[in-house]
């Protein structure tokens, strides 16, 4: 392993990342221990287990887990491995049932994880410790506004502290319906033959959009969306880009503010199909302003690409909101899972617009993501020559110019580097989250 993965030279300026970090199996082994075993990792959204005894099984940090809602309505997370001999106690990916039963020897557990039955129980005798034969749990499980996380380390900051200013960005999504938010049915379960950190960079890389996603932009134009006014200033285009923000602990966000008064659907949405749909979008906006005020609403309806370190993105482009997480099985292979989050009680036309808009961009069969997969897989192939071509460059915006800055990626890499090597590099002061400017400014809601 190289001594340092990062060159962080504020004077030149120059920010570089060593490509061995993308290919070296020893780096991945260290990432597992230093990052995935110490950070809060996303498990799922509470709406995925909406009713008592609902369950979902999935992998989190490479380990099998079950998320349930127990009889009392509490969301629980367990390791999907029987305390008896290790078999999965639930083999389906989702369902509902009062008992989780291991088919190997027939031990059964309730959805709160308690052992409720063992075949031929009497053979264990009266002193056998049945009480502690409950389903194993990750050392820590906590949630914030419906987003459930676990931590494979028993020590470290609690979730709220860990999330820090990321909570404000989650609020901007969670506030979008007074009836709550839900993950809908259907999951994008895909993969990439590339290092997971490439998808971190790509998931909030504004710089690549005009070249990699030219065909998507052409489609948006063909739908009637007018981008030409963009040249005359952000207000005319309807969406003002904000520079990236460093949210602390490796979390970062890029985003926009709706300046159109509800005339457009985010920075990348298709044109409204008709005036009625536009009117309903504006009515929704008016309701959000009633609830939260105009400033917060304009931020909500501007959209944002938000990284919660290390591997969770909440990407809200207004036209659709995706929750995306990924995990490396190999240095050059990751599994990716993505869900769509929608406001409960949404107007039917707006829901149709959302469903239609979302897929055209997001997802492994859209008009954008396949080209990202192509780009990242070809980057990965290039890294085979890392001895001859050792460095990636992420210097864009270090001179203070926020246009398509890469500062959000540098926030990630500095935290990654710190956890991997112990080397703490100072943040860039001009992109730090400022609670007075970027925080929640609505009286009465701030403490929520």
């Amino acid at each position: 392993m190289v001594d340092s993965f990062i060159i962080d030279d504020r004077e030149t300026p120059r920010f570089r990342v060593h490509r061995s970090s993308m290919v070296d199996p020893d780096v991945l082994a260290r990432e597992r221990a230093a990052i995935f075993d110490t950070c809060w990792l996303y498990v799922g959204h509470e709406s995925e287990v909406a009713s008592p005894h609902d369950f979902r099984t999935r992998r989190v940090g490479g380990r099998p887990v079950i998320m349930t809602r127990d009889a009392g309505g509490q969301v629980r997370v367990f390791v999907n491995s029987c305390p008896h001999r290790g078999m999965a106690v639930e083999t389906r990916s989702e369902g509902n049932g009062r008992f989780l039963k291991c088919f190997y020897h027939g031990w059964s557990f309730d959805t709160a994880g308690n052992l409720v039955a063992m075949p031929d129980d009497e053979a264990y005798g009266p002193n056998f410790d049945r009480q502690n034969m409950c389903l194993p749990r990750p050392p820590r499980v906590e949630s914030y506004r419906g987003f459930v996380f676990c931590n494979w380390s028993p020590t470290g900051p609690d979730l709220a502290t860990y999330l820090g200013h990321s909570r404000t960005m989650i609020d901007l999504v969670a506030d979008q319906s007074e009836h709550g938010m839900s993950v809908i049915g259907g999951t994008h379960l895909y993969s990439m033959r590339a290092n997971w950190k490439l998808l971190v960079e790509n998931s909030f890389d504004a710089y690549h959009a005009m070249t990699t996603h030219q065909r998507y932009i052409e489609m948006i134009k063909a739908s009637g969306r007018d981008f030409s006014r963009r040249q005359q200033g952000p207000a005319a285009a309807g969406v003002a880009r904000r520079g990236p923000l460093d949210l602390g602990n490796g979390h970062a966000v890029t985003g926009s503010v709706d300046t159109s008064g509800g005339e457009v659907m985010g920075a990348l949405g298709r044109a409204f199909p008709d005036e009625e749909t536009r009117a309903r979008h504006k009515a929704r906006r008016a309701r959000l302003i009633e609830l939260y005020g105009e400033e917060w609403t304009n931020r909500m309806l501007g959209g944002r690409n938000h990284l919660i370190f290390p591997n969770l993105f909440i990407i809200d482009l207004v036209m659709g909101c995706t929750i995306r997480t990924f995990y490396p099985d190999e240095p050059d292979y990751m599994e990716i899972t993505a869900w769509q989050l929608v406001p409960n009680g949404e107007d039917e036309r707006l829901r149709q617009l959302r469903m239609g808009n979302f897929l055209t961009f997001w997802g492994p069969a859209g008009l954008a993501t396949p080209d990202d997969v192509e780009a990242l897989e070809r980057c990965q192939k290039g890294f085979a020559a890392h001895a001859a071509a050792p460095w990636n460059d992420l210097s864009r915006g270090m001179n203070g110019n926020p246009i398509n800055s890469e500062a959000q990626m540098r926030v990630f890499w500095r935290r990654w580097n710190e956890l991997m090597t112990g080397e703490a590099l100072p943040p860039e002061p001009d992109v730090l989250f400022d609670p007075a400017r970027d925080g929640r400014r609505i009286a009465g809601l701030a403490a929520r």
Binding site: G186, M192, T212, R215, M219, A365, E374
Partner: protein, 184 residues
């Protein structure tokens, strides 16, 4: 070219033909098979504009998520949910070099079998068929198995036009494929 409509395609019919053993007439099946082979050939030879011409003006092209094969496009997340406008955009962009995932084009081959077809009334023909599509590119071969559920109508130079074309993947997940950049 049609303009951008909000998206979700009309709800698919109930195309599952399993309960109607023997109802697929040999003549109809033969005609549908010929049509499906023609369609597959157009796709494998990247004659996508000719393929697009097989569709009616009000049409849909759907691929449900792998964990919701019976999903409802109004309610559930899909992989592809194209109306006529998006299908045109998909096809036109695939013929440009900025469809990077298919530039240069991958090599594909389609095997189609287990074809069944019944007259569904109103001039429509409901079709169900199995497929295996292979895609070779960048030294890897990805295999996409699944089932077509289609709603055709008689007419056009190829014998039928496509109202609704749904490709239901017989995969639990899109791994290690990672994408569907071709037409399935």
């Amino acid at each position: 070219m049609s303009t951008g409509s909000p998206g979700p395609a009309p709800s698919p019919p109930e195309p599952v033909l399993g309960a109607t053993v023997g109802s697929s007439s040999p003549e109809l099946r033969a005609a549908v098979e010929e049509f499906l082979y023609h369609e597959a050939d157009l796709l494998d030879s990247w004659r996508l504009d000719e393929w697009l011409a097989l569709f009616t003006e009000e049409c849909s092209y759907l691929i449900p998520a792998t964990d919701r094969p019976d999903g409802d496009p109004f309610r559930d997340l899909f992989l592809v949910q194209d109306d006529r406008f998006l299908l045109e955009q998909r096809v036109e962009s695939l013929m440009t070099k900025t469809a990077w995932a298919e530039s240069p084009h991958s090599t594909t081959r389609r095997l189609i079998g287990n074809v069944r077809a019944i007259n569904a009334g109103d001039g429509a023909v409901a079709v169900q068929a199995n497929f295996i599509v292979t895609r070779a590119r960048q030294s890897t071969v990805d295999t996409y198995p699944g089932r077509y559920e289609m709603l055709l109508e008689a007419g056009g130079p190829a014998g039928f036009r496509i109202r609704m074309r749904k490709a239901v993947l017989a995969l639990e997940e899109l791994r290690p494929h990672g994408r569907i950049s071709i037409i399935l």
